[in-house]
């Protein structure tokens, strides 16, 4: 991944965080104050459409959709779910993240786990476990990209990242419904 992209990604994260801070400032405080912890966390979840993660994911979704459309324009039709997953892990991953994934596993019931041991969006963090929490927000955009690409190929899925040691990351892809 080239340098300007990393910088753009950093700026997107900053923009998302700033916007979230602004949105938080006009949450109805008087309403939230009187509530117990469980209820107020529910209210926060209801307001989550304005948080940084959602914002980044939706930018990624759009990008992934467009990238996948451009990439498979000249390819023959990819029909099965497994073929689509292979396409995502190979051609798509190479063209977007500059390398192949290191591992793809599935339970054959609609759950796929994509593992990348050296994920480009995380390489600027120092390796190890210290910054796992801070790195989380840098995975929202890639998640959106993967979900957008799957959507372009006709699969509705839920993509969640997990990482316990930087810079490796696992994307869990739960396939919900196949669009036909």
């Amino acid at each position: 991944m080239s340098l300007p992209f990393d910088l753009l990604h950093m700026e997107m994260v900053r923009y998302g965080k700033e916007k979230e801070a602004v949105a938080r400032a006009d949450y109805p405080k008087e309403v939230l104050e009187g509530l117990d912890k469980a209820t107020s966390s529910l209210v926060y979840k209801a307001l989550a459409s304005r948080n940084a993660e959602t914002n980044l994911e939706s930018i990624g979704l759009r990008t992934g959709f467009l990238l996948a459309e451009r990439l498979c324009r000249d390819l023959p039709r990819i029909s099965t779910e497994l073929e689509i997953m292979k396409f995502i892990c190979k051609e798509f991953w190479i063209s977007v993240f500059g390398k192949q994934v290191d591992n793809l596993r599935t339970n054959h019931q609609g759950v796929y786990v994509v593992q990348d041991n050296r994920f480009p969006c995380l390489t600027s963090f120092s390796d190890g476990t210290q910054y796992v929490k801070d790195a989380a927000i840098y995975l929202c955009f890639p998640c959106g990209v993967v979900r957008g690409a799957l959507q372009a190929l006709g699969i509705q899925a839920l993509v969640t990242p997990t990482t316990d040691q930087l810079p490796s990351v696992k994307f869990h892809i739960h396939i919900k419904t196949k669009l036909t």
Partner: protein, 178 residues
């Protein structure tokens, strides 16, 4: 799909510029959703560019050791158009329209990769789509102590960045430390 099928269009360098252009486009679209006024979006894009420019200046100076020190606006414009823009946008730029005694000039960027997939709707004429590039130039120059103002103007064929030189910034010591 046959296994032997050669992946089409997988050219890492080209795709990375596509990734950049599409990501930028999505970011602009998201910003337009967040702010109703395109002029607010211009400000945000300028800020994004500025922050990137500060870092790009470091990167540029560390990689391109042969670039001579600029002593006037003409040299600065030449370095920008011949070295900086090709290095980060992958296309060249031309300098023209010198005004007010060599203090203002325009950089014309042809085949701007950012606008390759973009058609800005008619009702968004006040949006400066490539304002990020203008911001990056401003940020980059500020990192080397040159204060300028920049605007990006989109024409049907190319992107024009107007640069106006303001002053050379001086390192001011904080008060009470002399």
């Amino acid at each position: 799909m046959s296994k032997q099928q050669k992946p089409v269009g997988v050219d890492a360098k080209k795709m990375s510029s596509e990734l950049f252009a599409l990501t930028y486009g999505s970011l602009v679209a998201e910003m337009l959703k967040d702010y109703e006024d395109p002029r607010q979006v211009n400000l945000q894009l300028d800020k994004v560019g500025f922050n990137m420019g500060i870092r790009l200046a470091d990167d540029f100076l560390s990689k391109q050791a042969g670039v001579p020190k600029c002593t006037d606006c003409r040299q600065m414009a030449e370095t920008l158009s011949k070295n900086v823009i090709p290095a980060y946008l992958g296309v060249s730029a031309t300098v023209n329209n010198w005004e007010s005694g060599d203090r203002e000039f325009s950089l014309q960027i042809e085949n701007n990769p950012l606008t390759e997939f973009v058609e800005v709707p008619q009702d968004l004429t006040s949006l400066h789509y490539s304002q990020m590039i203008a911001g990056a130039i401003r940020g980059g120059l500020e990192a080397v102590h040159i204060k300028v103002t920049t605007t990006a103007i989109e024409t049907p064929t190319n992107t024009v960045i107007k640069v106006k030189f303001i002053e050379v910034l001086k390192d001011n010591l904080p008060a009470g430390e002399d």
